[in-house]
Symmetry: C2
Subunit: 356 residues, 2 copies
C-alpha cells in the first residue's frame, strides 16, 4: 500500500497513538519496532490540543515528529464510547465531551475537516456504530445513516481535496450492519459503489462473542474489492489477528497491547503472562524468547521488580514488547503468505499460544 508518507506492507498491525504519542514510547522506539504506520484519534486530538494548532505545526506528522504514515479514525467511535449525553441526528452527533463536559457537535464534514487538519495519510469516514446487541431495525437505519454520511464525507473531500504531506489524503469507508449478513452486504455494496481507497469493517469488538466478530468479517469481506486494503477496526488478540488475516483482512489496530502492558501483562509465544506474579520473582529469562534485545536484556525478575515498585520503565518495556510481539506476528504472517504456508503458521502459532 503506497501512501503519502511511504509504503506499508500488509497484513500490518498499527500501534495506536491516541493523543499524539503511542503510549509510553518515543518515535525512535517505534522505528526500532519497525512500525510502518501508526494511528491517531481524531476525537482526542480535536478536543486537545485542537486540530488547528496541529495543522499549524505541520499536521500530526510535524507535531508528533513522525514521518511515516498515519491513519486517523473519524472520531465517531470515541464519541460513542467516551462522550456523554450523545444524541444522533441526520446532521451529526451532539454530545458532551469527556474532558470538561462542553456541548459539541461532530458532523461528517467536520470530521473530514479535522482529519484534513491532522494531515493523516488515511482518514476514516464518519460513521455510526450500532451497539451490540441491537435490533435489526436499528442496525438497518443506522447503516442507512452511515451511507448517507459517507456520501457527505465524499462530497467534502471532492470539494476540499485534503492533502497529506506531498500526496493526496486517502479515505476509507466503514462497513456496518451489526450481526446481519444482508445488512453487512448492503453496507459494503453501498460503500464500494461510492468508491473509496480502502474499506474497514466497523462495529466489531463492541462486546459481541468472538464467533459473531468472525461472522461480521465473513459477511463483509466478499463484497469488498480484492485490490483495496481491508481493515478490521480495534482488534485483536494475537490468535484473532491471524484468524482474520486468514479471512482476508489486511490492517489491524488496537490499544490492547499497550493497555494491558500498563496492567503488567506481556504476550509470550506460550500465551499472555502477568509479570507481577510471584512465579517470576527469580526468573532470569527474558520476557519472551522472541523479545527484541531492547527488552530481552532485562530479566523477568527485574521487570517484575520495576512493575511492583511503580517504575515507569516497566510500563515502557511491557508496552514496547507487546507491540513488538504483534508487529513481529504480522511480519511472520506476511512471510508465511509469501512462502505459501500461512495456514500451517497460523495453526502452529495458535496451538502453542492457546496451549490447545
Amino acid at each position: 500500500m503506497q501512501l503519502a508518507h511511504g509504503a506499508v506492507e500488509t497484513p500490518i498491525f498499527m500501534p495506536v497513538g491516541t493523543q499524539g504519542s503511542v503510549k509510553t514510547l518515543h518515535p525512535d522506539e517505534l522505528d526500532l519496532l519497525g512500525a510502518q504506520i501508526i494511528l491517531g484519534n481524531t476525537y482526542h486530538l480535536w478536543l486537545r490540543p485542537g486540530h488547528e494548532l496541529i495543522r499549524d505545526f505541520g499536521g500530526l506528522h510535524g507535531f508528533a515528529s513522525w514521518d511515516k504514515p498515519i491513519l486517523t479514525d473519524s472520531g465517531g467511535f470515541q464519541v460513542w464510547s467516551l462522550a456523554k449525553l450523545r444524541k444522533i441526528t441526520e446532521q451529526g452527533v451532539r454530545f458532551q465531551n469527556h474532558l470538561d463536559g462542553a456541548k459539541m457537535l461532530l458532523t461528517p464534514e467536520l470530521s473530514m475537516e479535522i482529519q484534513a487538519g491532522l494531515g493523516s495519510d488515511i482518514a476514516m469516514l464518519f460513521d455510526e456504530c450500532p451497539p451490540y446487541p441491537c435490533e435489526k431495525r436499528y442496525a438497518a437505519e443506522s447503516l442507512g445513516l452511515t451511507t448517507r454520511w459517507a456520501r457527505r464525507c465524499k462530497d467534502w473531500v471532492s470539494e476540499n481535496q485534503p492533502r497529506s504531506g506531498d500526496g493526496p489524503q486517502r479515505h476509507f469507508g466503514i462497513v456496518q450492519g451489526s450481526i446481519w449478513a444482508e445488512l453487512r452486504e448492503q453496507s459494503a455494496r453501498e460503500l464500494v459503489e461510492l468508491d473509496f481507497d480502502g474499506y474497514a469493517i466497523g462495529g466489531v469488538s463492541v462486546g459481541e462473542p468472538e464467533e459473531e466478530m468472525f461472522r461480521a468479517i465473513d459477511h463483509s469481506v466478499p463484497f469488498l474489492p480484492e485490490d483495496k486494503p481491508r481493515y478490521a477496526m480495534g482488534l485483536g488478540t494475537p490468535p484473532q489477528i491471524l484468524e482474520m488475516i486468514g479471512r482476508g483482512v489486511d490492517m489491524f489496530d488496537c490499544v490492547m497491547p499497550t493497555r494491558v502492558a500498563r496492567h503488567g501483562q506481556a504476550f509470550t509465544l506460550d500465551g499472555p503472562i502477568h509479570i507481577k506474579n510471584l512465579e517470576f520473582e527469580r526468573d532470569s529469562g527474558p520476557l519472551c524468547e522472541s523479545a527484541d534485545p531492547h527488552v530481552a536484556r532485562f530479566s523477568r525478575a527485574y521487570i517484575r521488580h520495576l512493575f511492583r515498585a511503580g517504575e515507569i520503565l516497566a510500563l515502557r518495556l511491557l508496552s514496547f514488547h507487546n507491540l513488538h510481539f504483534l508487529l513481529r506476528l504480522t511480519a511472520l504472517a506476511r512471510e508465511a503468505i509469501h512462502d505459501g504456508n500461512f495456514l500451517e503458521f497460523k495453526e502452529s502459532f495458535t496451538r502453542r499460544y492457546t496451549k490447545a
Copy 2:
C-alpha cells in the same frame, strides 16, 4: 577516578536510580546522555526486591543491565527521611519501613553487607545525619557515633573484602557536624585518619539556608585530601553545583532533575520553565537551545500537550532533558577547568540562569 566498572571524569553529576532504574529512562538513554556513573539506593533495594536476590542476579549491574560504575548510599539517609518510629542506638537504627511498616534494624555492618550484595563500585559508609536545625551538643554526639560507625564499617570491609565486578569495592566516609566549623573539621579529620577512598559531605540539603550549605562545604573541604574525590550528597540546582565545584567538590547526585520533570519543570539556560504554562501553547522552539536531539526534535507546544494529556512520553522527555542539562553542565565545567576559565564560565552561566 578509576573504578571497577570504568573511569569517571570529575566534576560529575550522577543520575539517581533509587529502585534500580533512573526514573522513566532506559539504560540506552543513559548511554545517550553520557552518564558515567549512576546511583542506587540501598534502603529501597534492600526492602524490595532484596539485596540477596540482586546479588544472585550479578549485583545491581547485572540486575539492572548497566555496566558502567554505580555508587550506592548507605541507607541511613532514607531511614532518616522515609521510615517511621526511628530509634538510634549505638548498635544501629531501629525503624518501621515505609512499605509495610515492618520493624527493622539497620547497622553499619548490615549496610556494608547489603552494599556488598549490590556490588556497587562505590559504597557509602553508614552514618547518622543530624536534622537541621539541631543543638550543637546533639551534632557533636551524632558525629562521634558516625565516626564509631565508620570504624565498624571499615572493620567489616577489611574482613569481607567486598568486590565490584572484577575490582575491589571502594568506600567513602561521610563528614557530618551540621553548621559548626569545629565539628566539621573534627569529623573530616577523624574520617581521613581512618583512610577511605573518598569523602562525602553529608547533612546538607536538609532544609538549611543556601549560605549554611556552602559554609558546611567550606568547613569540610580544607581537611579532606586533595587527591581523593569529594562528594556533596543530594545536591543541587545548576548554579549551586557550579558554586560547589568552585569550592572543590567533585561529585553530585540529586533526585531533583527527574522529580521536577515529573511535575512539568524543565531546566533552560534562562532558568527553569513550567511546560504546562499557557505561554508555551504555540511555542515551536525546543525545550532549551542546548537540548539533545532526542528531545529537541519536539516543540515545547508538543511536550506541553503531552504533559497536559498525562502522556508518559512527556515525563520521559523532561526527565531526559533535565539530566542532559546537568551532565552537560558538569562536562562544560570540566572543560572550563581544563582551559583555566572556570570562574568566567560559572559567572556567565549563573548570570543568565538566574537573570541576575
